[in-house]
Every structure is written in C-alpha cells, then in structure tokens.
C-alpha cells in the first residue's frame, strides 16, 4: 500500500473530506449515498475495510438515519462523522436540530447541490444555508486543501463548544475536481486534535438522561446556552486557526481578506466562487489599477459580525455574491451582511447579486460586470436582488 499520510496527493474535494476524516481518527461513520457526495463515503468505507481507519461504518437506509446513528454514537462518546448533499441534508433537517440540541460535536460534510424540483445535481448553496437555524456551525471552503483542513478543524472547535459543525464544499467545482492536497503526517494532526474526551455521555451503569422534556421554565435557558456556545466559538475560531497554522502550516480566520487594504469596492464571496472573484479582482487591479478586493466569508454560523463590520466600515461599496436564494427575500449572504452593517453610522451601500443558481457557470467576466455595475450604481439604488445571468 502506498503511503497514506504525510504526503501530498492530487485528489478530489470529496476525497479530501475522506482524508480529513481519516486524519481526525473518526470512530463511527454513518452515511447514505447521494450525488455528488458519494465518493466521500466510498473512500471512507475503503479505509475502514482495509483497517487503515479503525472505525464502525453503518450503511444506513436514509440520511435521516445517518444523522440519527451519528447522534447515538456521539451521545455514547464516539467521534462521529457523516457526509451528504442537498435532498439528503434536507431529510436530515429534524435530526440536525436534534444533534445541536443534544450538544453533540458531530461533523458533517455537505456538498452544496441545488434543491429539487426540478432535479439538479450542480452547485448551489440553498441546501446548507436553509439549515441556518439548526444550531450547527457552518464553514464554507474554497479549495480542496481547505476542505481537508476544515474537517480536522471542525472537530477541534465542535468538541470544545459542544455543537456540531457542517463544512461545505461546492458540487463538482470542488467535489469532483482534482487539486494537490497536503495530507499531513498523522502525528502532527494528533498534536492539533487530541482524542475526544466527552464530558457528558451515556456511561453504562451511570444514571442520567439526555433530552428529557423541558418545560417553559427551563427550555429557554437551554437555548440561551447554545447561543453562548456559538459566541464562545467566535472567540475560539481565530485562536484555533492560529494554532492550526503553527502546527500544520495553514492559518485560518473567520474570514479571509484578499487585496482589501486600500479597496474601495469589496466583493463578498463564499465557497469556490471566491477563486473566480480573486482572479477577476487581481486582473482588474493589474490592468485598470482599480481598488477592488475580496472578503471571503468562511463562517456563516456563528456569523462574524464584528469582523465584518471592522473590514467593511468606511468602504465605498460592497457587492455580495449569492449562489443561493431565499424566496420572497433575496440572497442569503447579502441579507446577513446588511444586518451586520446596520449598527454602523457610515455604512457602505450593499448590492446583493444572485447568480449561478443550479450550477450555472460564473466566469471572471461575470465578476467584472458585477464590479462595473456596482461602481455605476446610485448609492441608494439597492434593490433586494440584483439578478446576474438569469434569462428573464
């Protein structure tokens, strides 16, 4: 067998997830096949079958059961992992609430895929963003390396704040695209991510109940504590991001700033679309000397309000790229950004562009057109949605 860890391999985003789970030494995996996620669990079943990963693999009959199995395993104190996409994530919805409410540090990889009908298997963020209020941390990845890193990182954060994490990667653009990915030596990952030592768990012969009925005099406080855990995560994420850099070589923040120092116009992006935006912005700076930059959002929950305010305060304009749509409202990231900026006195105008739904290609040309549109817009000309590329 070729060397599995401590090497750089050219792998798909899906396999980057599998290697991330391997390096995280997950103990129970439960999953159900769905395009375009399937390769994640195929690779993991190979690892388990070959004995490379000493974990239990439960091949369930639905995503609902996959999450339920992870919940049971995590409640029993095991490090539990699953992966899904789109309809599968939607089917899990009830149990996503259950995992967070039970304060279980499960990690889930979601491959962003558009919701049906009509059937569509291509990238679109509406599946994961509609899980907004379930109590899960959500992190969006730009590259296959970030995907692998986010699996390890998510366990580290989740196990400290006792909330589950969802890492998100774009269908096909990342899931099926090969990129070089450093698969760290196990020992270095172990240094960053120690074994899970659960505080609250089902221990045989010890009395205790998890999840029993809680009346109005206590339920509220359980919710308050989940919010506190989210706030703890906001403080913890940059510190752990630094530590990840020290031990494994790549530093991560709540967001990533690209050519922002002097930027008048800021493009706010997430996921793999960020690379396209970076490419366009870089070219624009070189060719037209325009002061444009990119703010890549990594964490959607907890939402980094302070960081966003600090970065966007005083800019001339902000253009948010949303590969998602909340019907009857607008792009989901743009409404989040607007609400974050509201307390600022001199807040910049925020233009929300909805584009690329159902995997429609977004090219550097589209990004350049968006920047130009934003630059020529009247400051108060901020419709809830600015459509980009729709055939009206």
């Amino acid at each position: 067998m070729s060397k599995i860890t401590g090497t750089t391999k050219v792998i798909t985003g899906n396999h980057a997830v599998s290697y991330g789970a391997l390096l995280s030494r997950v103990q129970v995996i439960s999953a159900y096949p769905i395009t375009p996620q399937t390769q994640i669990v195929e690779e993991l079943s190979e690892f388990v079958a070959d004995g490379v990963l000493p974990a239990r693999f439960i091949n369930v009959e639905s995503e609902h059961s996959a999450m339920s199995a992870c919940i049971g395993a995590s409640a029993a104190g095991a490090r539990a992992f699953t992966a899904t996409s789109s309809q599968g994530l939607a089917l899990m919805h009830e149990m996503l609430h259950w995992a967070a409410g039970s304060r279980l540090p499960i990690v889930l990889a979601n491959v962003n895929r558009a919701m049906a009908p009509p059937w569509n298997i291509w990238t679109d963020q509406t599946d994961s963003l509609s899980q907004r209020d379930t109590g899960w941390l959500q992190v969006y990845c730009e590259s296959n390396q970030e995907v692998l890193d986010s699996v390890i990182f998510s366990f580290k954060i989740s196990e400290q704040v006792l909330l589950p994490s969802m890492l998100v990667l774009d269908a096909f653009v990342l899931s099926h695209t090969y990129e070089p990915v450093e698969i760290y030596p196990q020992q270095r990952v172990d240094e960053f991510l120690p074994p899970y030592d659960p505080k609250f768990t089902l221990r045989p012969s010890e009395e205790g109940t998890m999840g029993g009925l809680s009346a109005p005099d206590t339920y509220f406080e359980f919710r308050y504590k989940i919010q506190q855990a989210m706030e703890k995560a906001i403080a913890l994420l940059p510190k752990e991001g630094e530590l990840f850099g020290e031990i494994l070589g790549r530093r991560y923040g709540l967001v990533e700033e690209f050519l922002l120092e002097d930027a008048d116009t800021v493009l706010v992006t997430s996921g793999a679309l960020t690379s396209t935006a970076k490419f366009a912005v870089h070219r624009l700076r070189q060719e037209k000397k325009k002061k444009v930059g990119v703010l890549k959002m990594r964490y959607f929950r907890p939402f980094p309000f302070e960081t966003v305010r600090k970065i966007l305060k005083g800019r001339k304009r902000v253009a948010v790229l949303d590969r998602n749509l909340s019907f009857g409202h607008g792009g989901i990231w743009s409404s989040e950004i607007k609400s974050a900026l509201y307390p600022l006195k001199d807040r910049p105008p925020v233009y929300g562009y909805v584009l690329g739904l159902g995997g429609r290609d977004v090219t550097p040309k589209d990004i350049l057109e968006i920047i130009s549109d934003a630059e020529h817009r009247d400051e108060l000309d901020m419709p809830e949605i600015i459509w980009k590329g729709v055939k009206k």
Binding site: A69, G72, A73, S102, L202, P204, T209, G212
Partner: protein, 318 residues
C-alpha cells in the same frame, strides 16, 4: 356485549423468576393502570443494570421523567419519533468503540413509533442485524397525543380518528411476521399478565447477538376506554381469547407457540374495553373468525417447526 366478570379464577404463580433488581424508581408520570410503565419495569428488571436505553416520542418520553427528574437507573437518551432503532444502533456502535462492547442497548418505542413513523429505520436496523434489543410496547393507538389510530389499531376499534360511525376498518399490521421476514435472530410476543414468560423472553433476547424484537402488548386504560384496574385482566384475556398469541420466532423460521389456552369467546376480551362497545354481533363474529384464522396460522407454523402441536403448555404460568 356483556361485561366479563372479574371473578374468574387467576392461576397462581410465584414471583421467584422475576428479578428483585429495580431499574425504575417508584414515582413516575404514567396514568393509573398504565401497561407501558409496568412493562418498562419488568423489561429493565430482566435486562439488568448494564443497559443503555433510548426512547423516541411516545408516552414513555414522559413516564421516564421530565427535566430535571428521571425515573430510571440506567442511562437514557431521548430521540426523535422515527429513530429509536437507528439511534440505538448508533449508541451500540459508540459504546463498542468506547470500550463497552457488552452493554445491552434497548430501543423502547410505542406502536406509532414502531409500526408507523419509525418503520423504515426499524426495517433498516433489522435488515443489517444491528446488535440491539427493540421492544415495542403496543397500546394499539397514538395514546400520548390522545388516542389516534395507528397501523397497530385492531379492526373495529374506536379511536379519536376512527369514530364509532366509522371505526378502524383495516386489520392490525402483522409486525411479528414482518420482522420475522427480516430473518433476525429473535422475535417474540409478550404481555403483562404473563410476567414469567415476558422475563424469560427478555433474558433470552439479552443472551443473543444481533437484532432482537419483542412485541409487547401493553393495555392502556384511558385509550382502551376501561377502568384502570383492568390492565392485567385485559392483557390476560388477550392471550386467553387467542387474539394475542404468545410465541417466538427464531432466525425468522423457527416458530414456537409458548402457550395454547383452550380459548374463550372474543367477547370476553372485547367487553372489557369501551373502544369496542359499538360493535354489532356481525362485527364481533367477523373478529372471532379473524382470531381463529390467525390462531390456526400460528399453530401451523409451530407444527412446521416442531412437527407436532402436542406438548404446548395449556397454562401460561409454569
């Protein structure tokens, strides 16, 4: 229908086979005469202390205690309505990797969570032969939400969603047959009036590996529209009238009828419960026919396994 007399003879039995161990504290939130709470007490006595339990939405969600109280001496995880079997399988996997491979994991669900909404997860867990014990305490309707019909509701019964003008018109789902068809190691029926039989079956299940299922008839006084002191009597009459035969199925094929009562007219059972009081003589006759057919079928399966129907105990108390 004439009401069944309470003065019929009850066979005597000793409690020596019932463990003194208690895993349920005195004091819980069940209704008077609740079959489910007694069933839980008996099952947890038989399983012993090295047990972890999961309960989906059902009456037992409340019976085991509301925060910050709890009525059990074993660890307990509340889970969503349709997930008892798979949550139990997850707990089992988690406990195994955490160094507790010998702990019994019990999924404890009502008939709604088992026959209906939890059926996909139940079938999945059975098909994969997950190493858990699933006990369905069957009170034959959604009692926790206020007596709505489930696919475990018997033909002819009144519920709040099958009113007397249009009572339940479908036969009770054959959950034992369905589980047996999954070829799991062990499926058995049990009920409260036969605690020795129930205890023996739970212990037998505990000593086996793989997916084990016990279908436990647990009368519900409010839902069955009967006085709370009739729980054990109705449980007993269910067996004596042969509407609920006590039997076991091993590996999906080996059928054993545990008890062959000489039989009583089905009215003896039906008349204990207000949920059947609207039935016409024709309808009762139809139920009797169904009971007789089902009994003959179980008897035939026993005969195919044992090549005889001789020797089946005539009393439920040995």
């Amino acid at each position: 229908m004439e009401k069944t007399s309470l003065n019929h003879r009850v066979d005597t039995f000793t409690w020596k086979e019932i463990d003194e161990l208690e895993n349920v504290y005195p004091g819980h939130l069940a209704c008077q005469g609740c079959g489910a709470s007694l069933a839980m007490r008996l099952v947890l006595k038989a399983l012993g202390s090295n047990t972890v339990m999961t309960v989906p939405a059902c009456c037992s969600t409340l019976i085991v205690g509301t925060f910050p109280y709890h009525s059990l001496k074993v660890p307990m995880f509340h889970t969503a309505f349709e997930t008892a079997a798979i949550t139990a399988a997850g707990i089992k996997a988690g406990l195994s990797v955490r160094g507790y491979p010998d702990t019994t994991v019990l999924a404890w669900g009502g008939d709604g969570g088992t026959f209906d909404i939890g059926f996909a997860a139940l079938s999945g867990a059975a098909e994969r032969n997950e190493d858990i014990i699933y006990v369905c305490y069957d009170n034959e309707a959604y009692m926790n939400t206020g007596i709505q019909r489930s696919s475990a509701t018997p033909w002819g019964a009144w519920t709040t969603t099958t009113p007397e003008r249009h009572p339940e018109d479908k036969p009770k789902k054959d959950i034992v047959g369905i589980l047996a068809a999954h070829r799991v190691p062990y499926v058995a029926t049990a009920t409260l009036a036969y605690p020795q039989d129930l205890t023996r079956k739970v212990k037998k299940a505990k000593d086996l590996k793989g997916f084990r299922f016990i279908h436990l008839l647990a009368p519900c006084p409010p839902g069955w529209r009967m006085e709370s002191e009739l729980t054990i009597l109705s449980s007993r009459l269910a067996v004596e009238t042969r509407i609920f035969p006590l039997y076991e199925v091993e590996n999906g094929k080996r059928y054993t009828l545990n008890y062959a009562p000489k039989g009583r007219p089905i009215t003896d059972y039906l008349s204990t419960q207000g949920r059947f009081k609207h039935l016409t003589p024709e309808q009762i006759h139809y139920i009797q026919q169904c009971v007789d057919e089902n009994w003959a079928e179980v008897m035939e399966k026993h005969r195919l396994t044992h090549r005889t129907t001789e020797g089946i105990p005539a009393s439920g108390y040995q």
